[in-house]
């Protein structure tokens, strides 16, 4: 059910290239046979097993910890607590760190008797077996002096403060014109407050590490999205030079932002392995992940929209109050997208934080847009209804000619085209504008839509590519494939650039010995690593051509290289051609190697001169049971304008995954922080609901033809998060359309719609 249009061939690219084609994942066979090896599955002789014991209180100090029984337990090798753990740097201040510091700061474990959050590690047991370590952890007796903590965002909203900046380095506030006056004067207004809950990433693979020392050198097999971050964080925590830390992470069982920094499993495995002088592996349990591996913070969002009677926005205000940790600030950039999405002369966005005694939040898929658009795109729906306008028409009337706050043109922006194409495909005309009117049997049916926007980032990246005498290409970079399809698209980029078959290309990722990239995060992976590899391949081709022109042994000696091309495993220069492998055998039996890089997007002229985003439109149809209020998805459609598509198959998978996260956010995902104890009550996969197969309907994904030449040499932009942005709002708007009930507190569980559902005669 997917129609995928990919970009047309560009003059700069060979015809019939493999970029864009829906080829199967390169790593597919390894993954379906169980041969792909994830962190905990690495086997080293003499590996011991660690198990972490977490704190039973959320704030206070360890008054007494009795490890004697655990130490005597069978097969126990080590019990580590704050009393005997190797010295580590202090954690440092909670204030807003600059962006790099977030990733490089020391994250010590077991270095204090202080307890900062519930389930914070208070002991590590290492034993010969997993069973022995887990059992011994249960024998440790801990007494705490508990201190009163703060665990309630709404109750402490008055304590909110303005951070110095948001995540990703955005300004905390933005102000254009005079919103308050504009809003006061607006003939049509929406002033709506939404609440979004704590959420947890819950990648299927728990955070896990196997650490092994060889002399002074530490090798960490772990599940990491960004190896450079892990390396820096581990090195600063252990106070050793980063060069002595190697991070290996070729397969990652999902991350979604929760594997951008090293967690306790990594630090404690490294410390224990050093002490025991043998490899140690540790995995967080699923339950431990809730406190120890990041979350999306609870938020309160007030959206105010002022419009004239024609539906033109005169003022936009998006105010966000978010929970944060009392010991390490994290401010999700929740209102930042609102600075670019719609036109309005007077506007304000603000982020405020309320410190709670919990662990820090982390970057959860589509940080900013995921919660922000959930609220804002519902507010747009509310405004459309108040104006009596179709929600798509309202958005079209507020389409800006240029970035409304930065005042620069958009690189590409196909939002209107996405909405119009989506409306046509979805049958939007069949939507009944008056809510609660469409019933099939005992189901109320509703349609909803929302816009999607996600900024395009480029992170600094370098790739190394080599070709041998047999024409085999090897690309190496410390990039990761967290399921996004990186192995596959990089293979396609190298194959197309060098004119060789896919089967001749080997891409090696996930080893910090390879050239540094920005890793996987922020949807920047494909564009950053892909551009670096693209540039590396160009450098390699240049090197080959130079040698081909100058080498005595070359059949292309003296040919005019300005007309050269690499295709079909041949090098063509003017009318002359030579087999690539044969040429290399003749001119450079040892092969060639080259590197290529890209600079961080934010530093480039193109980034300063253009507002760069991916866009899309989400459509959803829901059925609501009129007796029980149960909400079930019927179908979803996303139309995306996201630059050049590198692999139509894996790109679609990224989007349907994102759309499903939208379902989760709209309908079920919520972690409950108990305001009495400070713990996440529903900390497992039985009680924290993520969508299961039965929740996910037929999904259609369409990519509009696009090539963003301002973004990068590939013309591609990020996809990993775009699918989430706005998807939940489309579902929420469909629920409103079905029922006439506007729920502003997510997730929209049946108990929130039921009271307003009329009892329909049987």
């Amino acid at each position: 059910m997917t129609e995928t249009k990919t970009s047309e061939n560009r003059p700069s690219e060979p015809r019939n290239g493999v970029i864009g084609r829906p080829i199967d994942r390169i790593d597919g066979p390894l993954k379906v046979t169980g041969d792909a090896t994830y962190a905990y599955e690495n086997a080293l002789d003499g590996t011991a097993y660690g198990y972490i014991l977490g704190a039973a209180v959320a704030k206070g100090r360890i008054a007494e910890i009795d490890t004697a029984e655990a130490e005597r337990a069978p097969a126990v090798l080590l019990v580590m607590t704050h009393r005997n753990a190797p010295a580590q740097p202090d954690f440092g201040p909670a204030v807003t760190p600059t962006v790099p510091e977030v990733f490089t700061r020391a994250r010590p474990a077991l270095n204090s008797e202080r307890v900062r959050y519930y389930d914070e590690p208070v002991a590590l047991v290492v034993a010969e077996t997993f069973e022995a370590a887990r059992a011994a952890a249960g024998l440790i007796k801990v007494r705490y002096d508990e201190a009163p903590g703060v665990y309630d965002l709404p109750g402490h909203k008055a304590d909110a403060y303005a951070p110095k900046r948001t995540n990703a380095g955005f300004e905390t506030d933005s102000v254009v014109g005079d919103f308050e006056s504009a809003f006061a004067a607006a003939p049509v207004k929406i002033d709506a407050t939404y609440r979004t809950p704590f959420e947890h990433h819950n990648p299927m693979e728990p955070h896990a590490t196997l650490a092994a020392w060889s002399g002074n050198e530490l090798t960490i097999h772990t599940s990491a999205q960004t190896l450079a971050n892990f390396r820096a964080g581990v090195a600063s925590t252990l106070r050793i030079p980063p060069e002595r830390v190697r991070i290996v992470s070729p397969f990652i069982g999902g991350g979604f932002g929760s594997k951008l920094i090293a967690h306790a499993d990594t630090i404690l495995a490294a410390l224990a392995a050093q002490f025991l002088q043998r490899p140690v592996k540790i995995a967080l349990t699923r339950q431990q992940m809730f406190a120890n591996a990041g979350h999306r913070a609870e938020m309160i969002q007030q959206v105010r929209l002022g419009a004239d009677t024609d539906g033109r926005l005169t003022g936009i205000a998006h105010d966000v109050w978010s929970a944060t940790s009392s010991f390490e600030e994290y401010c999700e950039q929740t209102a930042v997208f609102a600075r670019s999405l719609y036109a309005a002369p007077d506007r304000v966005t603000r982020h405020r934080l309320v410190p709670l005694d919990i662990n820090r939040g982390e970057w959860m898929r589509s940080p900013g847009e995921a919660p922000g658009m959930l609220a804002f795109e519902c507010a747009m729906d509310e405004l459309a209804e108040r104006l009596g306008l179709d929600p798509i028409e309202l958005r079209i009337r507020n389409e800006p000619a240029q970035d409304p706050e930065r005042g620069v043109p958009f690189s590409t922006r196909n939002l209107v085209a996405c909405m119009e194409e989506g409306a046509r495909r979805f049958g939007w005309v069949r939507r009944e504008p008056t809510p609660g009117r469409t019933r099939e049997g005992r189901k109320l049916i509703g349609y909803g839509m929302a816009a999607a926007i996600r900024p395009n980032y480029i992170g600094a990246a370098t790739a190394r590519v080599a070709i041998d005498r047999d024409g085999r290409v090897t690309a190496r970079l410390d990039m990761t494939d967290i399921g996004t399809g990186t192995y596959t698209i990089l293979t396609q980029i190298a194959a197309e650039s060098l004119g060789v078959p896919i089967s001749s290309v080997k891409v090696e990722l996930g080893d910090s010995r390879f050239p540094r990239t920005a890793g996987s995060g922020g949807s920047w992976g494909a564009a950053s690593a892909g551009s670096a590899l693209h540039n590396a391949c160009n450098a390699l081709k240049q090197r080959i051509l130079e040698a081909a022109q100058s080498s005595e042994a070359s059949p292309l000696r003296g040919a005019n290289a300005t007309e050269a091309s690499f295709a079909d495993s041949e090098v063509r220069v003017g009318q002359q051609s030579a087999g690539l492998a044969d040429l290399i055998r003749r001119i450079a039996p040892a092969g060639f190697e080259a590197e290529g890089s890209v600079a961080p997007g934010a530093t480039t002229e193109s980034y300063k001169a253009y507002s760069q985003h991916s866009y899309g439109a989400h459509f959803a149809e829901v059925a609501v049971d009129c007796d029980t209020g149960e909400i079930r998805m019927r179908r979803m459609l996303a139309v995306m304008g996201a630059g050049r598509i590198l692999n139509a198959k894996t790109a679609r998978s990224q989007i349907i995954g994102g759309m499903t996260w939208g379902i989760g956010a709209a309908l079920m995902e919520q972690t409950v922080l108990d305001p009495r104890y400070g713990h996440f009550v529903n900390h497992d996969l039985a009680e924290y609901h993520v969508p299961i197969n039965g929740d996910v309907p037929e999904m259609e994904v369409v990519f509009l033809e696009e090539h963003d030449d301002k973004a990068n040499p590939l013309g591609a932009k990020g996809l990993g998060e775009l699918g989430v942005c706005g998807a939940g709002a489309a579902v929420a708007n469909a629920i409103y359309n079905a029922t006439g009930v506007r729920v502003r507190e997510f997730p929209i569980t049946l108990d929130k719609v039921l009271p307003a559902l009329p009892v329909i005669a049987i």
Partner: protein, 219 residues
């Protein structure tokens, strides 16, 4: 209970609930040894864990092993037998990543003891392909992109293989309109319901359904 991990003795929370309010928090605490211990605690040669011999038949191979009775089938596979294809996602039967086939039936290997499976025919994801030829369900997962990160995939595939057998045997599901019907038409709704015990956080669900539909039609 509350504030003490030890399961015996008075409860710390009970003591402290008054303590916090009245400011006698520390008075109720046991003095902490402020000095760090001189040496890191490590047992020189710990006592071994008791084990029991068991014979397991996995992927048509008979294996004699000595394992702690506490060892789950999943941990036996992953930590002791080098069969790491079966994944630990939650360790509590809440995600399905550990799904294996026992006598052809899909089960969560995390929620059963290895010792309980002597004599059973255990098939893991490593045992599905015939040499280099992928099992039809495996091949369909590749062709339909029925995964992203791949971590839930072995469990999805084993679950699908078991599920197809259940459907073939005419077992109804929650999605079946008439549970008394003798046979099952494996619609997308049926596949979705029957595969709902396998969480995919990357959310490849529509592709998983398509892959299983393909494999079912091929069979």
């Amino acid at each position: 209970m509350a504030k003490t991990d030890n399961r015996s003795g008075p409860t710390r929370r009970t003591v402290l609930e008054g303590g916090v309010a009245t400011g006698v928090l520390l008075a109720t605490g046991i003095p902490v040894d402020a000095e760090p211990a001189d040496t890191v605690t490590a047992a020189a040669s710990p006592t071994p864990v008791p084990t029991m011999p068991m014979s397991l038949r996995i992927n048509a191979r008979d294996l004699a092993v000595e394992l702690d009775p506490r060892t789950t089938l999943l941990d036996a596979l992953r930590n002791h037998l080098g069969l790491t294809g079966s994944k630990k996602g939650c360790d509590h039967g809440q995600c399905g990543a550990c799904t294996v086939l026992v006598d052809g039936r899909r089960i969560n290997s995390c929620l059963t003891l290895a010792a309980m499976h002597e004599g059973d025919e255990i098939t893991t994801v490593e045992g599905l392909a015939e040499g280099d030829r992928l099992h039809p369900v495996q091949a369909a997962f590749v062709a339909r992109d029925g995964f992203q990160c791949g971590y839930c995939t072995p469990g999805q595939i084993c679950s699908a293989v078991g599920m197809l057998g259940e459907a073939k045997a005419g077992w109804p599901s929650h999605a079946s309109a008439d549970v008394a019907a003798a046979s099952v038409a494996l619609t997308d709704a049926e596949i979705r319901e029957r595969m709902s015990g396998n969480i995919c956080r990357c959310a490849a669900y529509p592709n998983i359904v398509a892959a299983i539909r393909d494999a079912a039609e091929e069979a």
